[in-house]
């Protein structure tokens, strides 16, 4: 394992590599590839935190817990709620901030405030030829040149290895209220969530758990009085969908980190238009391999997590991607208990696939960074 402590060392390690490299932060995101492990854990530490400007700069290998502790001390947060799927993947490492952005890992609040990629203001990275590149900066509005920041977010290290990230923080809400409707099927649940998202009450999350007889959750956050007012208004707006009750306790951490699906041996992440989600689920359930699948809808139905036993994984994988293609969405295999030789990412259209492959060749001419992971 290589564990560089500086940009220069990172560049040298990549330049001198003779074969494939498995880029790794905390190793918690379930995307393992073959090759010598290149750890970013040595590139750690918060180098700047300016709460009044809502910005932080940190080494890519900085543990997520360290980032969150620093933010907590100032009453701020990573608003996009990065998920940590260790409960499902069984990983023992500590998630890093670089890993969060490299996988564009966003949780329930994504529907309100945006994804991880929307909070990434700047990056420094070393590409596959060992070239050190910076892009973006530490200010919220920046259109100076091309936005490689977005390109690096969600690229899973295949274009370059992040060494430093600068990010936007937000104040923590003073109060939270969660409303719940029990017993809705997927169609009614998506309709209810969509109705909630269409109100002016600034809903910060909308999710539906298939298990436990169907539980649909909607969250509002902000100052105490405002939350009370909006929760009341939402109750009235959702009245037609069933009894709306207050849900005490923090349901959201479990929905975010999928402890509600901890038994899943394989896990997929599905992205669709929310209104297509119920039909997608119905069709999957009708398949022989899909009957035992568990499902959880986040983002008002726009994201579905699907879990299944290992035995049905191979058959289900291609069915999920075929159906997603028909519905113009995409499916990613996030985790499997045993290795599966399948395309983890949704096959792309010919034009997009050609552009993506050409970009990879430009940034990683030898094809050594997490080779084969994304295509």
């Amino acid at each position: 394992m290589m564990r560089p402590d500086s940009d220069a060392q990172l560049a040298e390690a990549i330049r001198d590599a003779s074969g494939g490299l498995a880029v790794q932060g905390g190793g918690t995101r379930g995307m393992q590839v073959a090759g010598e492990v290149l750890s970013t854990r040595g590139l750690c530490g918060i180098s700047l935190y300016d709460p009044g400007a809502l910005t932080m700069v940190a080494g890519a290998g900085t543990p997520l817990t360290e980032i969150e502790a620093a933010l907590e001390a100032e009453g701020q947060m990573l608003a996009f709620e990065p998920y940590d799927l260790s409960v499902v993947t069984g990983a023992s490492g500590a998630s890093t901030i670089g890993g969060v952005f490299a996988s564009n890992a966003s949780g329930p609040r994504r529907v309100q405030v945006g994804a991880a990629r929307d909070f990434l203001l700047g990056v420094r990275f070393v590409d596959g030829a060992g070239r050190i590149v910076k892009n973006g900066g530490r200010v919220m509005k920046n259109v100076t040149g091309y936005d490689l920041v977005k390109l690096m977010a969600g690229a899973y290290g295949t274009l370059g290895v992040l060494s430093e990230v600068s990010l936007k923080t937000l104040p923590q809400p003073e109060a939270t209220a969660t409303l719940e409707i029990k017993g809705l099927d997927a169609t009614r649940a998506v309709a209810a969530m969509s109705a909630a998202m269409g109100t002016p009450y600034d809903v910060s999350a909308a999710a539906h758990l298939d298990a436990q007889g169907g539980r649909t959750f909607v969250r509002v956050e902000g100052f105490e009085d405002s939350v009370a007012y909006r929760a009341k208004a939402l109750r009235a707006a959702l009245h037609d969908y069933g009894a709306v009750v207050a849900c005490d306790g923090d349901i959201w951490a479990g929905l975010r980190d999928l402890s509600v699906m901890e038994d899943a041996q394989t896990l997929w992440r599905v992205a669709l238009r929310p209104s297509d989600a119920p039909k997608f689920l119905t069709q999957i359930r009708q398949l022989p391999d899909g009957a035992n699948a568990s499902a959880h809808m986040d983002w008002s139905g726009g994201r579905i997590w699907i879990g299944a036993p290992m035995a049905s994984a191979a058959g289900l994988h291609s069915a999920l991607q075929t159906l997603a293609a028909q519905m113009r969405g995409h499916v990613t295999l996030i985790h499997s208990a045993a290795p599966m030789d399948l395309p983890r990412f949704q096959p792309e259209s010919v034009g997009v696939a050609r552009l993506s492959a050409a970009l990879r060749r430009k940034f990683d001419p030898r094809g050594i960074l997490n080779a084969g992971l994304m295509g």
Binding site: D50, V139, G154, A191, S194
Partner: protein, 477 residues
């Protein structure tokens, strides 16, 4: 402004080019009369003008594809144009280029309230996107001040912002998908009705690429339910430092207004003379707007006012009615026009970390004395996106050059304190030659490699964004 040498072979091929374009485009969509092409000689950066060889106005994605294919085959440079409101010269033609205007493509293709999105052709203006959905209680959030005129195509090319992006983000945060025509005519779809990419985030790099990677003809945009109401408060201070500190304290306190606008004394005075909004005569003025129900607005404004009072404001005016709100915004919205009344001006657009505001304003004042040119500052303080307006006299020999030199010094200052050259207007030709101050050769090389992939012949809007010396070899010059 240096532009690439004109390609005589392209000039010589004009007749053939026009014949071929007319064969694939409708009647009246190919403009080749030199009197008429002059309408496309510049955008809102009027200091530089050059009529294109030909201008075309296709009406569909297929027509854009057919036209680009011809230009690609013939090696003719193409400059895409939205509504021509760029302040950075993003749509400035070269004499050997075809201007591709998207103005005729302005249909709404789909509205989907259940999934909160709208699909439009990109010639549609920013404000008319909201116009298409507001009767149903929705709006499109990015609101550049040119929103009445500017096209979505240009918004995507420049990743436009606006006054309310502190809460709602800029174009890239509200763009879900595009249909884009590549320089060789290939049509590709990226993104769509879902959130976040299933592979590399190509959408993220296309947005803000200044029309250099492809011509975006259709866009899927996120729409949001309109807030119940909004109201501003106006706060005056006797120093820029104190106003800056107030902004920082408000943000730290956890209040997230939808807008925090800042004007300094020269700007306040010019605006007052022009728009008579009743602004106080003070050193610095903040306009802070919050949203929500009446009670929520009251509560948020109370918090903001409490913080503001700690800094001893010389004026504090809370709007109590729609009329008062309009008056408070009137001056801010007419600020550019007001400055234009007293002088020619150049509008800069650098962004700085909010904490550097007082220092940067002081340094701009010093530069103003040094160059002998007046400066007014009006900007989005919440996100540090400055808009210094440098006043000059276009009829006075050497004044434009002096103004540009001063502008360059201010932008370098923005970079020095940890900011950037442009927050929302784009690089265009205006800031092209300053890119080396923010990015190393390797940084620029990485960006140009993207263009190599999308437009290998470097035909699309190629004289922009990158210093010519850096892109010369790629353009084959």
């Amino acid at each position: 402004m240096q532009m690439p040498d004109v390609d005589p072979a392209v000039l010589a091929s004009k007749r053939d080019l026009v014949v071929r374009l007319r064969a694939v485009l409708p009647e009246g969509a190919v403009i080749d009369d030199p009197m008429e092409t002059r309408a496309y000689e510049c955008d809102a950066l009027t200091a530089y003008k050059c009529a294109p060889l030909v201008a075309i106005l296709p009406g569909t994605t297929a027509e854009v594809s057919a036209a680009l294919k011809i230009c690609h085959e013939m090696g003719v440079p193409v400059v895409p144009r939205g509504a021509g409101t760029s302040l950075a010269g993003g749509a400035l033609p070269t004499a050997d280029s075809v201007i591709l205007g998207v103005a005729r493509m302005n249909d709404v293709l789909e509205t989907d309230y259940a999934n909160r999105l709208i699909r439009v052709q990109t010639g549609r203006t920013n404000l008319s996107v909201t116009g298409a959905v507001e009767q149903d209680g929705f709006f499109y959030a990015p609101d550049p001040s040119s929103q009445l005129a500017c096209a979505i195509a240009g918004n995507i090319a420049m990743n436009s912002g606006g006054a309310h992006c502190l809460k709602y983000g800029v174009t890239t945060n509200n763009l879900m998908g595009v249909t884009m025509v590549m320089m060789d005519g290939e049509i590709i779809e990226i993104g769509g009705g879902y959130l976040d990419a299933g592979g590399l985030d190509l959408l993220g790099v296309i947005c803000g690429s200044e029309g250099q990677l492809g011509v975006v003809t259709e866009a899927t945009l996120r729409i949001l339910p309109k807030p119940e109401g909004a109201r501003p408060v106006l706060i005056g201070y006797d120093s820029n430092e104190v106003a800056g500190a107030c902004v920082s304290d408000i943000i730290k306190a956890g209040v997230l207004p939808v807008a925090i606008e800042f004007m300094d004394r020269p700007c306040i005075r010019a605006t007052e003379a022009f728009a008579k909004a009743g602004y106080p005569d003070c050193e610095a003025l903040l306009i802070i707007e919050v949203e929500g129900s009446e009670a929520e607005i009251d509560a948020q404004l109370a918090r903001i006012i409490e913080i503001a009072k700690r800094h001893n404001p010389v004026e504090l005016r809370e709007s109590k009615s729609a009329e008062e709100s309009a008056r408070i915004w009137l001056g801010r919205k007419s600020a550019f026009g007001a400055m234009g009344q007293i002088n020619d001006y150049m509008c800069l657009d650098g962004t700085i970390p909010v904490s550097e505001l007082p220092y940067v304003l002081r340094r701009i004042g010093e530069l103003s004395d040094q160059y002998g040119l007046g400066v007014g500052n009006v900007f989005h303080a919440g996100d540090g996106n400055m808009h210094p307006l440098i006043l000059f006299d276009a009829n006075k020999d050497g004044d434009l050059e002096k103004c540009e030199a001063m502008g360059a010094d201010i932008l370098k200052l923005c970079v020095e304190v940890g900011g950037c050259l442009t927050g929302e207007h784009g690089v265009g030709v205006e800031k092209r030659d300053l890119m080396g101050h923010q990015y190393s050769d390797a940084d620029l090389e990485a960006q140009m490699r993207i263009k190599d992939v999308f437009d290998p012949k470097w035909l699309l809007n190629s004289a922009k964004v990158f210093p010519l010396s850096a892109s010369d070899a790629r353009r084959g010059r």
